[in-house]
Amino acid sequence: MGNKKGQQEIVGFVLIVVLVVVGLMVFLIISLRDSPEQEKSVEVGNMLDAIMKHTTECAVVYEPDYDSFEDLFKSCHQGDQCSNLGLSACDYLNESLRAVLEGMFATEATVGAYQVDFLVKDDEGEEGVLRILEGNCTGSVSSAQRSVVSYSNSLIIRMKVCGGSLS
């Protein structure tokens, strides 16, 4: 009789433990699903738009038909050369984009780190072409991305900024 009672108590205890574990799992799933890694930001979006329109010194065909960064991403994907500089579009893109970003973030005291990714998206997925990463991220992350069409591919330019507000 006593043995049976003990078994009942153990079953009750196990049931309570299972219920609590299930509750915790549901809670964890909900909280993880509702908190995205980073949020889309109007500030970062405007920054990326301004960069994309920025006129570079790279002229692929003739001077003064200079590429904007948006054109330069396409030129890099298409394997073009900056005819006036004697550099490949990708090399110049890497060099000039780093310089512009450094200049922009020099005025932003609250930004701890930033990352710009240049990806080519096709049917098989995304392939990274260029990544610029500076600083160490310790705060919240804001991000934005823009797409440019080149040939049959979609070029994705994604920017992540870590730290306080930009303005």
Partner: protein
């Protein structure tokens, strides 16, 4: 006649001598048994009460933990939303015909218009601007300091300032563009800049 009777209660067996003497029930043993069962029952009720209280407090703690996680960043999100709204409203100023370079592109300022507005023309618009101050500056090429325009190699355009000190400044990134003629060709040259607007802080804000 006296005989042993076995009782079972709450998992314990009790043996009680129950008998009759002279036609009267032999009551003292049964009374003791009742008292024993009563105290066991009270113990069980107390255990259950403690368990219910513990479970109640456990769920209260879990609820508080859940709420704290949920509302952790509400204040930060509200501030971020306010900032985003302020920046979006900057597009109204950036897209004004007096400043805009290309009507099809948002946040694109005309450097020639900025130069004209800086040269004292902006004061005519004193009643026009819905804000306390408007300024724009170029971030590229990188300069160690802001040089007010008009001037040589200037990069800072102060379009309007009503002199009010009780203001909050909002800024956003813009493209500052101009038409450039080179080798007989005319092209659009755009550089990264910032539009800075001072908003009057009303009482209570």
């Amino acid at each position: 006649m006296v005989e042993n009777l076995r009782f079972s209660a709450e998992g314990s067996d009790f043996v009680a001598k129950v008998g009759f003497a002279d036609g009267r029930r032999f009551a003292p043993m049964v009374g003791a048994l009742r008292r024993d069962l009563g105290s066991k029952g009270q113990m069980k009720i107390m255990q259950m009460a403690f368990m219910i209280v513990a479970v109640f407090f456990f769920f209260i703690l879990v609820g508080l933990f859940f709420l704290s996680i949920q509302f952790k960043d509400v204040k930060g999100s509200a501030a971020q939303l306010q900032r985003d709204q302020a920046i979006s409203s900057l597009s109204v100023i950036a897209d004004m015909p007096e400043l805009s370079y290309d009507f099809s592109e948002a946040f694109t300022l005309d450097e020639d218009k900025l130069r004209i507005m800086t040269g004292g023309f902006g004061d005519v618009y004193e009643e026009f601007w819905p804000v306390a101050s408007v300024a724009a500056y170029k971030l590229w090429p990188v300069a160690s300091e802001l040089k007010p325009c008009p001037g040589v190699d200037c990069n800072y355009y102060e379009l309007y300032d009503n002199g009010q000190s009780n203001t909050r400044t909002y800024s956003t990134y813009v493209s500052i563009c101009k038409k450039v003629k080179e080798s007989g060709f005319v092209y659009d040259k755009c550089e990264v800049g910032k539009l800075e607007v001072g908003v009057i802080i009303r009482d209570g804000e």
